[in-house]
Symmetry: D2
Subunit: 312 residues, 4 copies
Amino acid sequence: MMIPTPLTGVVPPVCTPLTPDREVDVPSLRRLIDHLMEGGVHGLFVLGSTSEVAYLTNRQRQVVVETAVRHVGGRLPVLAGVIDMTTPRVLDHVRAVTEAGADAVVATAPFYARVTHPAEIARHYRLLAASSPVPVVAYDLPASVHTKLPAEVILDLAAEGALAGLKDSSGDLAAFREVVVGVRNRPELKGFSVLTGSELIIDAALAVGADGAVPGLANVDPAGYVRLDRLHHSGDLDSARAEQERLCALFGMVTVGDPGRMGGSSSALGAFKAALYLRGVIDCPATAEPQIPLSPEEVERVGKFLAGAGLL
Amino acid sequence: MMIPTPLTGVVPPVCTPLTPDREVDVPSLRRLIDHLMEGGVHGLFVLGSTSEVAYLTNRQRQVVVETAVRHVGGRLPVLAGVIDMTTPRVLDHVRAVTEAGADAVVATAPFYARVTHPAEIARHYRLLAASSPVPVVAYDLPASVHTKLPAEVILDLAAEGALAGLKDSSGDLAAFREVVVGVRNRPELKGFSVLTGSELIIDAALAVGADGAVPGLANVDPAGYVRLDRLHHSGDLDSARAEQERLCALFGMVTVGDPGRMGGSSSALGAFKAALYLRGVIDCPATAEPQIPLSPEEVERVGKFLAGAGLL
Amino acid sequence: MMIPTPLTGVVPPVCTPLTPDREVDVPSLRRLIDHLMEGGVHGLFVLGSTSEVAYLTNRQRQVVVETAVRHVGGRLPVLAGVIDMTTPRVLDHVRAVTEAGADAVVATAPFYARVTHPAEIARHYRLLAASSPVPVVAYDLPASVHTKLPAEVILDLAAEGALAGLKDSSGDLAAFREVVVGVRNRPELKGFSVLTGSELIIDAALAVGADGAVPGLANVDPAGYVRLDRLHHSGDLDSARAEQERLCALFGMVTVGDPGRMGGSSSALGAFKAALYLRGVIDCPATAEPQIPLSPEEVERVGKFLAGAGLL
Amino acid sequence: MMIPTPLTGVVPPVCTPLTPDREVDVPSLRRLIDHLMEGGVHGLFVLGSTSEVAYLTNRQRQVVVETAVRHVGGRLPVLAGVIDMTTPRVLDHVRAVTEAGADAVVATAPFYARVTHPAEIARHYRLLAASSPVPVVAYDLPASVHTKLPAEVILDLAAEGALAGLKDSSGDLAAFREVVVGVRNRPELKGFSVLTGSELIIDAALAVGADGAVPGLANVDPAGYVRLDRLHHSGDLDSARAEQERLCALFGMVTVGDPGRMGGSSSALGAFKAALYLRGVIDCPATAEPQIPLSPEEVERVGKFLAGAGLL
């Protein structure tokens, strides 16, 4: 299917449920997709950072995207991450996910390889666009990529037709606004999708002019984010803010992991999966290697966050 | 073949020659290997950063390692990089390169994924070691990985038998010395290889106690680095320093690219390949996408560096 | 005078006009204060980063704070920056500015010295609070200080009574919100001032719950920021956003300086002062050493930004 | 006195002993200077980072430099740090320390203020040189300043006569070598002093061509560093390396502080002062605020490092 221009609403980055021996748990993935669609989401983003894409082998990525496309069956657009170090490797993923039926691909700037000059980043996206049969969305995630996509590079690539959208997980709302306003001021950019990945300030991003949101926490509470989106568009901004603040409190679960024993990412992804497990959506809360698993006590604390948000 | 314990001497990270349409240029790769072996090197490291591993597709990586292993035919140890974001993906590369005959694998800490806690890094290497049929060498490259491998983590993993060596490209000689001295002080670490990737201070690293060196510039002048290594071991430290300084001057070629037009990595890898092209070793100086190619004038400046070092 | 609890509205960080030989231009500073007060601002913050505090000698700082306090004459609260590397040096500034009559002091975490542990930062603020005769406001500016003040440290210090407010120039609205909500949830923190320094997203910060704003660009257009604040509080959020976007366009002036010739800070502070000069507020647009001055053509481009915003 | 051109040998950055109430302990400072001179050092560097210059008030800095100059009485050159954020503030320190009799001043690039463009850094040093009655030495300390001084900027400023030397505490030996070789290749730079601050690789820096060393640990064991310097110059490089390794082991004391309770700098400076106290050189091991003091158990561990190095 064609993705809407622009894509709007809530497009969760779908977690990848794993079995105890770290294979993709296909039945759980299907149930998770059902859970998200029942929550009213407007699209799905598989193979993003919250999906543990960096940990999935190529074979596993294939299982994920095929499962999602088949299970969704065209009811919603399915975007697929094509996360890899440089253009040639990303192009291999573009081929794989589009053959499996993805409706758009989501690509970061190069990483590990030090090609961070704006001209190199632009060349990267131009080459992706030239080969991709579906629209290309830029993914700005400086915490992982270690460069920030400059607003003017994005706008120029959009004007060329090389980019169809931006998923901004930089946390930098001023830079995000520069893209939003730049799109609005250039009529030829009509239809370009400006999406925020900052799950704690989605109300603010929508107020600034975001088209939609890609919140990792929407795995746990899709209905909450859909409600936030609707409240915003109905003009009830106070209720939207209250809903966002409820979700911020729920997000506190990402800190359950003991920092002496694990990093913040093991804790956050572990908490999301523990929450899905506790809510009965997935069968096993395992995260991929080499992440450190949460202890039973830490999982219990996740449960308290769920209870506090009325989700248990 | 078994890699020596420790591995010593000069082990260049082998450039990956490409055709004009960016496929692996197998005949040129064979000629490059001949050129390195004629220079007297003590091992080969394929699929490292200087090999543009981050730009090579899995298929291309396979071609490289198979070509190298076959062409070398056991005359030298062949180490292969298994560079990817996390453990499961690295393990796929481990399988691929060891099936092709690599004698050791060289792996960084996880990147992109934020698993940078010492416990997560240790878990990563333990899992690699548990599955790899050949020794695992840790690759410390903070400029790409955005974490520094702590000396104590390396030494502990070495003591467990999980690591067989370290390739340190951090540029931090004090931290490097901590590993060298730590190995010397712990008898159970006898045979652990401590290799420096800092091509501009190899004389200093050897004096501190490095077992060997992995200098990218050795592609261009393998005989120079081998001479430097021999001069050091013969005790003629003044001549070793003079040879190192000649190589430092040659290394100046990495700055030929116009910084307004490209990043430092496009410039540096472009210069190495231009030099190999100008010396008649490879057929085409192309670098992988999305790197920016050197202009003819910039290539000409590479030639002047070669001439200045007596290599043209 | 006592500062309001909380401090609300627009509190510009006052530029420090300089003479051509880089002395404080006292008549221009008085005119700038008049200009700001005529614009309707709610307080003044002297000796902040936009005031070039890092460039002013102790003697010059004294002239600035004495001039401001005397000229304002109690009509508005005057906050004064006490920016220095560590506690003992900051305490000297606290003494100086409070003897001159400052109503509150604004202090960063330590910098240059590497005391960035939360316990060290907390100790710093506790010592400042114990000695300061006026309230202490924490200043979060990671771009200069190279650490981010953790929300929980700020909230705990606020609960102890050590901090009276926060000026957040981190650009991280999610972390800002954590402080805003934390203050609201803890009744004992009533009156704590949460101020944003992010001049491009003040509408969003107010919507999230900021008490007030400290925008550098308010030197150039104080009436615009006061209007934005009023529109927000009157509930006309669309007009508030439009006003903010007009100010964002005006902010574009910070990029007039040629990046080949100077850094972004020379360009930005040079543009603010050029704008004040072109608007007839100050006599000389000089910035402090070693900043690079704008060229006449660059100053002319500042004029175009003013014209575009209806300010010339 | 004129400083030698180049300055050679061991020039310790002198710790600043404090009383229990954090005033400069003048008798202890004199004893520390005696201890260093008895150890055979070749110059003294007061008000450097190891001297806690960032924590000393202007009045305390004055006491330190006056005490040192008077007590040394021209027997050795005394260099003084003039550490502050930007040119005008540094110039105030230049006036203060040269009136007190310092023989050279040591200045970093600007920090806190974001003037990090090479043209801005060059302008800073040119202005310092134009006003300073004594030679200016550049201090490269990226860990505190958050920029690295580029080798070509240093060499160009040296050629202009604006800089008399470099104290390099970057830990980047390859960049250090670029300056060393650059000085050697440009006859007009004869007499420029290239000094390393990397106390763990001084043998390597000397082998590369350093003129001298500025090791913080030389406060604790000046005789050791002087011995290392002599062994190097006598050509007994194996013994020089052994001495360096003994000093590296001694340096392990910097890790005694519990990282859960304090940062690395509180631990390191606390350990140096504890060592001087345990060796009977200074009366009180207090460090400046807001550093966290070592516990009695941590001090005891410092004693074990001293014993291990034969210093108790």
